[in-house]
């Protein structure tokens, strides 16, 4: 009955705006849409009723929908879709969109808006969403003209994925969803207004190759923009024997178990990575943006180095550090062109120095009577054989996960890096599990961040996601506590958390809950969690609340001020 109505409408060669949205999404290959309905988006939901290929995941909070779309996009390399109604629905997307912007995730957000006649009148559930999201989206648009809906949406899908990916929001008034538009609009070819430069300038690439060949202390500084460039990156590093250090976003772009890899650099990076980059005479930055969490005090960062900066976004080049060889282009294309040109530099002495640092200052933690968080991460690494897609929340556990979970393949480490949004981990892990249904996905979260979005455990239960949520529970906002200890004379203010029993919370939602308090319980519990395949598992890992995350370069300082913690 319902289907025949749709067919009848299409026979007259018009289609509702809402149905057109569904058609465009399906054609673009979208499978999942994470969202929460409301008045202004009701016509879209009505159209979803007839859309078997585009499945909707009802998230209990729009922030979760946005993070899930981000997790989906980052795990799959495709684009994630989220939707919310007007006003409060749309404003709840804001944190997720800001996160996607900072970490360059391809996210399409479709929001409902009040009917056109009511826009600007402070109507019920109205908010000026395009204005609100302008600084935190790559692009956004309010669709005033129903005939422009299809084009706007196609452009948004193209934009969110092209060049430097990012969130794009399309705000659709309810009556535009309801308006019948000519079905022909769906057949119009789409031509993007602008195409990013992906091929690097040949002269610059030759200069870069020359600089590499002449360097004595080169390093590769690998960011999130290198996730899809791991093949030529690996070839360049291995053939030229260049040490590789990854950012939080770059984890997975290069095999961290390879001896060439020095792990993560920056505030909580390895001491040897930080010593190496600061002694380097050549820094090859690939898809990295010289974030302050990496550089510390800018003027003291890499004082002896020249910089080759490869980035698809021209506005990143020279933003924080002037580049001697700026190369605008897609990291994979540029590295493919650069790799054969570079002659291996003489790096034997350099490697001797690096190995000395690596031996003298390894990552380490001291066992104690209580379960140590690092111990927990190492056990997670061990039982998952380093094969999982790891999604983290924000805080100490995030840094420990980055330090102790070694990633080998691209898109297997997903974390809120740029925005540092607590509450990100669990929802993004859900999105990642939708993207990679046959892969083991683990969320490593803190007790603080998990409580910001754990209501959506019910969503994971509903979809039978075999997700593992490992709560590194130190009964506090650990990173804040660490800063108060080190920089605020141990004046602990508002950091101690009275937590629920996470295992029982999980059970109440219909998930499996396990509590671990001692080291000897750790591995059996983790192994048990891996056996569950039809629902999420929450493992509450009660760890030493006093443990701090080291090494640490205090905010705004340089490698000279690094605290090794031993």
């Amino acid at each position: 009955m319902r289907t025949s109505t749709v067919e009848a409408r299409e026979a007259t060669r018009t289609v509702s705006g809402a149905r057109a949205v569904v058609r465009v999404l399906e054609e673009a290959g979208a499978e999942w849409i994470f969202g929460h309905p409301g008045g202004a988006s009701l016509p879209l939901y009505d159209a979803l009723y007839d859309a078997p290929k585009l499945r909707h995941v009802l998230c209990r909070h729009e922030q979760v929908a946005a993070h899930a779309a981000t997790g989906y996009a980052r795990a799959s390399g495709r684009f994630g879709v989220c939707t919310a109604t007007s006003g409060p629905g749309a404003t709840n997307l804001v944190t997720g969109l800001a996160d996607a912007m900072m970490d360059s995730a391809a996210v399409l957000a479709i929001t409902g808006q009040v009917v056109r006649a009511n826009i600007g009148t402070d109507a019920f559930q109205e908010a000026d969403v395009t204005s609100i999201t302008t600084p935190i989206t790559k692009h956004n648009a309010l669709v005033i003209e129903p005939h422009g809906l299809v084009r706007t949406l196609r452009e948004a899908i193209y934009l969110c994925q092209s060049g430097r990916p990012g969130p794009v929001l399309v705000d659709v008034p309810r009556d535009v969803f309801q308006t019948q538009i000519p079905a022909d609009l769906l057949d119009e070819p789409f031509e993007p207004r602008r195409r990013p430069v992906t091929k690097g300038n040949a002269t610059r690439i030759a200069q870069a190759a020359d600089a590499i060949s002449r360097s004595r202390r080169p390093v590769l500084y690998v960011g999130g923009g290198a996730q899809d460039a791991s093949v030529p990156l690996g070839r360049l590093a291995r053939r030229c024997r260049i040490p590789v250090m990854v950012t939080l976003m770059g984890k997975g772009a290069f095999d961290e178990t390879d001896p060439l890899c020095l792990g993560m650099l920056g505030m909580h990076g390895t001491a040897y990575a930080n010593y190496a980059i600061n002694a380097a005479d050549l820094v090859i930055a690939v898809g990295a943006r010289f974030d302050d969490r990496v550089t510390g005090r800018l003027k003291d960062f890499c004082p002896h180095a020249r910089f080759i900066h490869i980035d698809i976004d021209p506005s990143e080049i020279g933003k924080n550090k002037p580049a001697h060889v700026p190369i605008v282009g897609d990291a994979r294309e540029v590295l493919e062109a650069l790799e054969p040109l570079a002659r291996p530099p003489e790096t034997e002495a350099w490697w001797r120095q690096i190995e000395e640092w690596r031996t003298r200052h390894p990552l380490r933690w001291k066992p104690g009577p209580l379960l140590k968080p690092q111990e927990a991460i190492e056990a997670i690494y061990r039982v998952t054989r380093g094969e999982a897609v790891v999604v983290t929340d924000v805080g100490q556990h995030q840094m420990w996960a980055a330090q102790y979970y070694k990633c080998r393949r691209p898109r297997t480490f997903i974390s809120s890096a740029g925005l540092g949004a607590m509450g990100f981990g669990f929802p993004a892990a859900m999105g990642a599990q939708f993207a990679r249904p046959d892969t083991l996905v683990v969320a490593i979260v803190g007790d603080g961040g998990f409580q910001m979005t754990l209501q959506d455990l019910i969503t994971a239960v509903e979809w039978k996601l075999p997700l593992k949520v490992y709560v590194v529970n130190n009964t506090s906002l650990g990173m804040v506590r660490q800063w108060q200890e080190l920089f605020y004379q141990e004046r602990y203010c508002a950091v101690h958390l009275r937590n629920p029993d996470f295992a029982r919370v999980a059970e109440a939602f219909g998930a499996v809950g396990i509590r671990v308090e001692r080291s000897d319980e750790l591995e059996p519990a983790l192994l048990r969690s891996l056996e569950v395949t039809d629902r999420p598992v929450v493992v509450d890992l009660v760890v030493d609340p006093e443990e701090n995350c080291y090494p640490m370069i205090p905010s705004g300082q340089s490698v000279k001020e690094m605290i090794l913690g031993d």
Partner: protein, 173 residues
């Protein structure tokens, strides 16, 4: 490959930026927001449609170090509706501003004001028993100078358009 790391120029100076954008709602907000974010005060801003009705021109002057202007200009270029953006500060250019100036002009001093206006090629466009309103165009400095000159008579109100600028010669932005 350059040898020395360029030393960032930190001295603030007046930068003149020309931005060509799609003539659609919301563009100005996007462009201006990027300056606001960096805490840059926009000294003047002139926006209007161009010879092509689909395109608007934004001319803005800001006070900031050249290197900061360069960084923001690159970010402005990311805005989808921005077609072209150029820092024209160092280019030979024609630059003009228009001001309407309402000056106290009782009978006794009126001729003196009008005489001064002639020197600045300012045209009287409105007259009352107590005031004269003058239209003056020219470089921002010329307008400043004129305002200084008539200040002692009492300036009641000024409306300035902000600078508009074009590259000199046949070249376009």
């Amino acid at each position: 490959m350059t040898d020395a790391v360029p030393i960032p120029q930190v001295r603030s100076e007046r930068r003149v930026l020309a931005v060509l954008v799609d003539n659609v709602p919301g563009v100005l907000l996007r462009v201006v927001a990027l300056f606001r974010r960096r805490g840059l005060n926009i000294h003047s801003l002139a926006v209007s449609v161009t010879e092509d009705p689909a395109v608007s021109r934004i001319t803005m002057t800001v006070e900031c170090p050249a290197i900061l202007a360069e960084s923001v200009v690159k970010q402005v270029r990311r805005v989808m509706e921005v077609r072209r953006v150029r820092d024209v500060t160092d280019a030979p250019r024609t630059e003009r501003e228009l001001a309407l100036v309402k000056v106290n002009a009782p009978a006794g001093v009126r001729s003196e004001i009008l005489e001064a206006a002639q020197v600045f090629r300012a045209r009287p466009i409105d007259l009352t028993e107590k005031t004269v309103t003058l239209e003056v165009t020219g470089s921002p400095e010329k307008i400043d100078a004129f305002l200084n000159l008539v200040a002692r008579h009492g300036v009641r109100e000024v409306a300035r358009t902000g600078s508009v600028a074009l590259i000199r010669g046949s070249a376009t932005t």
